[in-house]
Symmetry: C2
Subunit: 340 residues, 2 copies
């Protein structure tokens, strides 16, 4: 994408960027998803609904289940399976967050103390396991083997991505390609699956399935890259989690990779100290921010995210114009512009 | 059971106790299970086969997958699904062990350093997640919705049991009933499911399914109670894990519950100090052992385990006499007599 194209594209995004149209179209279905979630969280072991409920009720955009609901709506799907499968997708996501926070030793999640801070790592691990199992139970009940195949595969891919990320957590030599492989596995596959199963239960064609899978995949890639930027640039209150988390944990994200690649000797030593040796002093985060600015790391990341988003949008063009299709297109713009 | 009955029963067990007949009947199938396990563990993320392979290759009796294979053989099942579902069962079990060791902070597992000791808690959590996902992927591929329903339900039950156990980890006031509820959820349900799916894919009757589920359930209950005893009485090398693990972690097991219930004031204070406050001194483990002996806690636990085992055996009587049925009966005796 040329600088000019990028400028035009960003202008386009600014005009449209809201999640509201999508949310209003799936509102009723999403209310049912929330009901299923609360109902399934009931357990005689009260710690389970307590922890899981804390995390699930604390908000989040429910973007993944919304994708399933919206994609099913593209096919005018009327049955009950979309709602249950969407709840499964949210359970998988929440389980991943719980285990992620344990692995990363995170303090904040969605602006509140993370579950591992409040209840300890042990409970977070086990309640995460429970949510994974709940997700599978719920999806098995829908008796859709094709959807089951997609969702069981995605869980394995997410776990592999998490392990891969752990292996590269302080690896400044990581290439952009390797990083994007992690993002694909950790984040984009669940977006892809969420959209894909909408097409499966909506009985779309093989081509429809492929298009929505691609749509979810590219949307997810962009979503994560914007997340990486927000970790350095966002307002902590708006973001709902601690800014600089990635930095403090030495988690190498795309902006850092881009900046490191063109760093001089002193700058490389700086990154080495703060990200690998993890000896961080006051002012280091600000200095990192300055370096990322200096080397256009944010711009480059936004540019790549824009490419993904354009691909995502293109995958929607094979579907006839409808309010839900336009709302999905607007979601693409929203992802590029989001502040949290 | 009267003391006399128990004596006769133990005598019976002594005559028979070997796992060998069962193992020799499922040997070929089990070799295929092992092949599937190794094949599925392949991952471009090399840490995954490294950790999972370490745990899986380190042995263990493979009792759970063997149950699936053996129960399918009761129906002369010839297909490939038993082998794959048995591998799924072993993956679920291994995933549970990995997360268990993180939660319990265990040092030894099957006589070797536990995975969390070698690779850290983070990797153990994530590789456990990967194995859970692998289990589901593999079982979804078999396209048996009834087996999927059983296995997805069991995972949720195991996770609930683990959380319940965590909540009661230093709870001396726990009743035997509550403890048995935990054992049921944590251990017996997977034994029950392993046997049950053998009947499902063997196309047994509803009654057959029920009988094998009951068989697995009661076998699993006995298995765990004997495990609780071995943690105090076994030879460390034979057991393959650290003796006294439960004691050191303040994990209240049935022998302790039985002993505590009839303890005098001083003894109660002792248990309070070592199991709740976890301030343990040299000699405490031996003193605990003495108290357990004094109050016949081991005998009472063995007596209850014997009741479960007798029920397990009874569930087999509806099947016609065959080498595999007799081998399963002998497994009951083995569980009562095992030293590791």
């Amino acid at each position: 994408m040329t600088q000019e194209d990028l400028k035009i594209f960003k202008e386009e995004c600014r005009k449209l960027a809201s999640l509201e149209p999508l949310m209003s179209l799936v509102r009723n279905d999403l209310a049912q998803v929330n009901e299923i979630i609360l109902e399934r969280l009931q357990s005689p072991v009260v710690l389970i609904p307590e922890i899981a409920g804390y995390l699930i009720k604390s908000g989040g955009k429910r973007l993944r289940p919304v994708l399933t609901l919206a994609c099913a709506q593209l096919f005018k799907y009327q049955g009950k399976k979309a709602v249950s499968l969407a709840a499964s997708v949210e359970f998988i996501h929440t389980a991943t967050l719980l285990h992620d926070d344990v692995v990363d030793d995170s303090i904040l999640r969605r602006g509140q103390a993370s579950a591992n801070q409040l209840w300890g790592n042990q409970a977070s691990v086990l309640v995460g396991d429970f949510l994974f199992s709940l997700a599978f139970e719920l999806m098995v009940e829908q008796e859709s083997l094709p959807a089951l195949k997609v969702l069981s595969k995605v869980s394995a891919t997410i776990a592999q991505g998490e392990v891969l990320q752990l292996l590269h957590i302080n690896d400044l030599a990581m290439t952009a390609e390797k990083y994007l492989e992690i993002v694909y596995a950790k984040t984009a596959t669940l977006f892809a699956a969420a959209a894909h199963i909408g097409a499966i239960i909506g009985q779309g064609s093989i081509e429809d399935e492929q298009n929505l899978k691609e749509f979810g995949h590219n949307l997810g890639m962009a979503f994560q890259l914007i997340d990486d930027i927000l970790d350095y640039t966002a307002d902590e209150k708006t973001l709902g989690k601690a800014v600089g988390d990635d930095f403090r944990e030495g988690k190498i994200t795309l902006p850092v990779i881009y900046s490191y690649q063109v760093s001089d000797h002193n700058e490389k030593e700086f990154w080495q100290r703060v990200m690998v040796e993890l000896t961080q002093e006051e002012g280091d985060f600000d200095h990192a921010y300055t370096l990322l600015q200096k080397h256009q790391a944010f711009e480059k990341t936004i540019s790549l995210a824009s490419e993904y988003i354009q691909k995502a949008e293109q995958s929607l063009f094979s579907f006839s114009v409808s309010p839900i299709r336009e709302a999905l297109r607007e979601t693409c713009a929203f992802v590029m512009q989001r502040k949290n």
